[in-house]
Amino acid sequence: MKLCGARPAVDPRLVRPRWIVRARPYLIIAPALLLLIGILYPFFLAMYYSFTSYTLTRPIPKFIGLANYIAMVTDPGFLHSTLVTFGYALGSTGIELLLGMAVALLLDRETRVSKILTTTLIFPMMIAPVIGALLWKLMMQPSVGILNPMLAMLGVNTRSLDWAAKPSTALPSVILIDVWIYTPFVALLLLAGLRSLPREPFEAARVDGASRWFTYRNLTLPMLIPIMTIAIVFRFMDSLKMFDIIYAMTGGGPGDALMTYQLQAYTKGYLYMNLSYGLTYTMVLWVVIYFVSQKLVNFWNKSQQRAAGM
């Protein structure tokens, strides 16, 4: 029983839902978009300013093209800043990955110690990085701190060494603080990953008589690659732009031993009020972060698919 015969085209107003229904998705996302624009505006402004000359003494920005960038790159301190920035990021991320993996493996057991430790692991993560840095600053202080006396007890003579005041020990000190605060994050992340691994391949490997190291290297590790990538993305990106810890510890010193890009941006852009010059450092940092994170996220997507296929 079909209604047959051609009929005139239907008035779309009868067929389509009311406009407010169609507009609904856009209205729902509108507040977020407004906020987005409100946040992106300063960014684009920053980008623009970095191509101008905008300082306290010259409060009206004048376009000068790449002059700021050239000045920054040719500054003798730039190489050092780059080394410090990446050294800090690579050092802390690397150590956190290794240490976090070790801790995660040790925690993945059913003993009472591991359960208690898993709970307490969140403490360093929840404390403000600034405060975390202050804790260690307190301990590393030669006169008040407990670190040197304790090391002395273990036979290491570092009496009256001010860890933060010597250029050679300053970077390791801040890396140590970063490791203290963030290794739990990596460890808990990897632990969640370990706990979510399927059991069958491991049972099969055990039946086949594989050694622990073999199992670890060829089963566990490859399957954990997606999660390790996430850990690396978060830690590397965050440590490239770390400010709080270094500022609290030495404010960039001693001298300019710890002048990472962000510290440069703060010092030159904010303290010395050479706004446009300070922004160039942030722009370079932002570009690095953006591209590296894109690459890593792509890698993560692919590695997820591959791990699922295992």
């Binding site: 996302i29 110690v113 929840m126 404390i127 990085p129 307190l138 965050d238 400010f243």
Partner: protein, 285 residues
């Protein structure tokens, strides 16, 4: 299977863990101890001392002293309130904006959806000074410098990405047919949202809101640069006890302890959802 060997191995593993345990907890313990030390006993690194609440009294009641940032009266209760107002305010704004956005990203299909989602995520990784420097100029012009709203607005860079990404995952887990059933049963879309959807994402909502609160509370740079004495937070104030004349480490320690208590309490309550929140939903743990 050599159970003795494996038992020894397990004990060794526990031993290593305990060493790490000490590494993790000791600085915190030391901070708490220091906060109870008398100023004259600061320079003796002894575990046994005469505990006193002097530091706590000083910072809460407020005695004027000179610090590196000039004459300064630590008005700690005010700082604490500021932190509360700013963190709660930031989270509330993020909830208002982020919950609908997360829902839209989970359900609707439109061009550029993933780019939009990635843009929100990218806020998390933005170098602060790229935003701070222009904002410090804009805020002064708009009169937002040293205001609650100004800081709450900037805090969105920290709180919003987290909320959107975690909630998006929770929304995606709910079958759209449940919403369709509720609509067919006679409920308009906003009632479906309140009665059915929100209860189902409540754990994720609570966890990410609390985590966002912690991040906002811990933030140092934004209140430092864009805020003045009116809105100073506890986190910023912790640093102010060190000056070139006298470093009141015990007071600093007391400030650190007070600043850290809320977040430790909160973190313990969302333990279960912690990993999922911290990794922005990438890992379910």
């Amino acid at each position: 299977m050599n159970t003795l060997k494996s038992r020894l191995r397990s004990l060794a593993a526990d031993g290593v863990l305990i060493i790490y345990f000490v590494f993790v907890l000791f600085p915190i313990l030391w901070m708490v101890l220091t906060s109870f030390k008398r100023t004259d006993e600061l320079y003796t690194t002894r575990f046994f001392f005469h505990p006193t609440l002097e530091s706590y009294k000083v910072i809460t009641i407020g005695e004027q002293f000179v610090s590196g940032t000039g004459a300064f009266r630590p008005d700690f209760p005010k700082f604490f309130m500021n932190s509360v107002i700013l963190s709660v305010g930031a989270v509330l704004l993020s909830l208002l904006v982020g919950v609908p956005a997360a829902y839209a990203l989970a359900r609707f299909r439109f061009k550029g959806k993933e780019s939009l989602a990635f843009t929100f995520l990218s806020f998390r990784f933005a170098p602060e000074f790229a935003v701070i420097i222009p904002l410090s100029i804009i805020y002064r012009k708009l009169g937002l410098y040293n205001t609650y709203f100004g800081i709450i607005w900037v805090f969105q860079l920290i709180t919003l990405p987290l909320l959107i990404w975690v909630l998006r995952g929770y929304f995606e887990e709910i079958s759209p047919e449940i919403e369709q059933a509720a609509q067919t049963d006679g409920y308009p879309w906003w009632q479906v949202f309140i009665r059915i959807l929100l209860p189902l994402v409540r754990p994720g909502l609570a966890a990410s809101a609390l985590l966002a609160f912690v991040f906002a509370w811990n933030n140092f740079v934004y209140p430092l640069v864009l805020g003045g004495s009116d809105v100073q937070t506890v986190t910023v104030s912790a640093l102010s006890f060190l000056s070139s004349e006298q470093a009141y480490y015990n007071r600093m320690a007391a400030a650190c302890v007070i600043a850290s208590i809320p977040e430790i309490v909160l973190a313990l309550s969302i333990q279960r959802y912690l990993i999922r929140g911290l990794s922005f939903g990438a890992v379910k743990g």
